[in-house]
């Protein structure tokens, strides 16, 4: 559905993105993951025909973004990082305007607007002036705008940035519901967000694609094992000797803390939480805390970037 090949864009002398290549299948949700200034927004702006690439090509729904820009825009809905709202308008006036510039025929306009208002759940504020709405509602109005005219492709730039946790969950649910019906690209710098909504992830760093895979594979590939954190009350050496006998343990790091407690970090090839819990108790020690560490975006980046430099 979306084919991106070798996209490169310069801002003056500065290279924003370099040789970006990826594909998105119909009905799929793809996550663009990367730190700030990695080139996510630039990539999205090129795909939505906001600006042309310096070199490279991309087709969306079979249309070339450069040669058939109007056709691309007709089938694409875009939510920029800052929702493009005319804040002095009411929600329904604003959506009416967007429907008109998107070329929705007059007789279908009302239905089209009603349907996105329902999808994004903003019915209770449709008569309110946008400037007076909360950030969460503004974001949803922005999303409603992107979904108007039922576009085949939906491109969302950091759709949950600046929202509170409840709002984030709502937006996430909304995006998940787009699966199948729409082909979605969404960007984020937060890994859990991508993990929960996307089927495939493209990681961008400093304008280049550094990895492309499913979220599960990425985490697995990166981790190559598990990291387990414990807090134990007991003897340091005794615990270490017991733990090192467990199969699959690669390293044990123990930091004594106040009150005779030990903060322990165990690296292993597999999930050995049950073994560790048991050995602590059978050795007459108290287990106060046990958890598996989840990998953060930072870890992924550090990993991918160092790997890239080594290669």
């Amino acid at each position: 559905m979306i084919h991106v090949e070798g996209l490169t864009r310069f801002y003056g002398e500065k290279r924003a993105i370099s040789d970006i290549t990826f594909h998105v299948n119909k009905g799929e949700i793809l996550g663009l993951l990367g730190p700030n200034a990695a080139g996510k927004t630039t990539t999205m702006r090129i795909l939505t025909c906001y600006m042309p690439p310096t070199s490279g090509r991309a087709t969306i729904g079979g249309y070339d973004i450069f040669e058939q820009s109007m056709d691309v825009r007709r089938i694409t809905g875009y939510l920029p990082e800052n929702p493009p709202l005319y804040t002095e308008f009411t929600v329904s006036d604003y959506l009416g305007f967007v429907a008109k510039i998107k070329g929705v025929p007059a007789d279908r306009r009302k239905n089209a607007i009603d349907s996105v208002i329902e999808k994004t759940n903003i019915g209770d504020v449709r008569g309110r002036i946008i400037a007076k709405l909360s950030k969460g509602y503004k974001q949803r109005v922005g999303l409603a705008q992107a979904l108007l005219n039922n576009p085949q492709i939906v491109i969302l730039d950091e759709p949950t940035v600046g929202l509170d946790p409840k709002q984030i969950i709502e937006i996430r649910e909304l995006i998940k519901n787009l699966r199948g019906e729409h082909t979605v690209i969404l960007s984020s710098h937060i890994l859990p967000e991508i993990e929960q909504t996307c089927e495939r992830v493209v990681i961008i760093n400093q304008g280049r694609v550094v990895a492309e895979d499913t979220p599960e594979n990425l985490t697995a590939r990166l981790a190559g094992g598990e990291r387990i954190l414990l807090t134990v009350a007991g003897d340091e050496e005794k615990w270490r000797r017991a733990a090192e006998k467990v199969e699959g343990v690669r390293g044990v790091e123990i930091v004594p803390a106040d009150g005779g407690l030990l903060n322990i970090k165990v690296e292993s090839e597999r999930d050995i939480r049950t073994e560790l819990a048991r050995l602590t108790v059978t050795n007459d020690m108290d287990l106060l805390e046990l958890k598996k560490e989840t990998f953060t975006l930072e870890d992924i980046f550090l990993h991918l970037i160092t790997k890239e430099e080594a290669a």
């Binding site: 801002y11 702006r45 939505t48 025909c49 906001y50 600006m51 042309p52 109007m70 825009r73 007709r74 694409t76 875009y78 920029p80 800052n82 493009p84 709202l85 005319y86 804040t87 002095e88 308008f89 006036d93 305007f97 967007v98 008109k100 510039i101 998107k102 070329g103 007059a106 705008q145």
Partner: protein
């Protein structure tokens, strides 16, 4: 057509969604009213003096021409007020979209730069016509209490609208070059004033350059309209001016997209 209409009505409505439109409207009407009062008072005084003189020398009083003494100078006054007011109408046209990021919406929906520019230009022009409406009421009073010719009034408004269109196209162009409304307003005002006074230098320049300066000067082409003459060469000047303004606006919009 639907797209132009959408931009046009959005733009026109947003004038009235903020207090600026009402302030501009009030200011223009007040200034127009003051100037009208002053010209009419001058006329009344002149005709009063004339009647006194006629009575003194026992001759018939002259009939003073309302068109010549009120309507014509009044159109010049309106042209002057427009010079100051029009940059405030055009400053936000594009700069605002750039500042708030709504250009991202305009550039990613199936609507062309030409449609955007045309819609915005027409909205500003219609707003200017709305500004002129109260002054038409003032002039209507002249017809209630006197019997001036109607034709110079019609041609005067035609001239004002054409001149306004020229200023708007230029202000729109300046607004496309910046995201700062202040710069757009000051730039628009400076350029308008420059094009107004450029003709004054004509008498000091050589014959050839003098002719060119006279031709460029935006107010020179207005004189005939104020006097009740619609000359196609002046109409052509304003149409050319507007076309250039719109053309340059389009080119900046397109090039800004490229440079980003």
């Amino acid at each position: 057509m639907q797209a132009i209409n959408a931009i046009f009505s959005k733009e026109f409505k947003s004038y009235f969604y903020s207090p600026t439109a009402y302030i501009i409207l009030a200011l223009f009407t007040a200034l127009g009213g003051v100037f009208f009062y002053l010209t009419v008072s001058g006329f009344v005084q002149a005709s009063f003096m004339d009647q006194m003189r006629a009575a003194q020398y026992r001759m018939a009083p002259q009939t003073l021409n309302v068109n010549l003494m009120v309507i014509r100078p009044y159109f010049y006054n309106l042209a002057l007020i427009s010079l100051f007011i029009l940059p405030t109408i055009t400053m936000r046209l594009y700069a605002e979209e750039k500042r708030t990021g709504t250009v991202e919406l305009l550039y990613t929906t199936p609507i062309s730069p030409a449609q955007i520019i045309t819609g915005k230009f027409l909205a500003a022009l219609l707003f200017y016509v709305v500004l002129l409406l109260p002054t038409m009421l003032f002039q209507a009073l002249l017809f209630v209490y006197g019997s001036p010719e109607i034709w110079p009034v019609i041609s005067g408004y035609a001239g004002l609208i054409l001149m306004g269109a020229a200023y708007i196209s230029m202000g729109l162009f300046i607004s496309t070059t910046t995201e700062n409304q202040m710069i757009a307003a000051i730039g628009g005002f400076g350029m308008s004033l420059l094009l107004w006074v450029v003709g004054w230098g004509a008498q000091f320049a050589g014959p050839f350059i003098g002719d060119i300066l006279n031709y460029i000067s935006i107010i020179n082409h207005f004189e005939d309209f104020a006097q009740g003459v619609i000359d196609t060469s002046h109409v052509a000047y304003y149409i050319l001016f507007v076309s250039l303004g719109i053309y340059f606006s389009l080119k900046t919009v397109e090039s800004v997209k490229w440079r980003a």
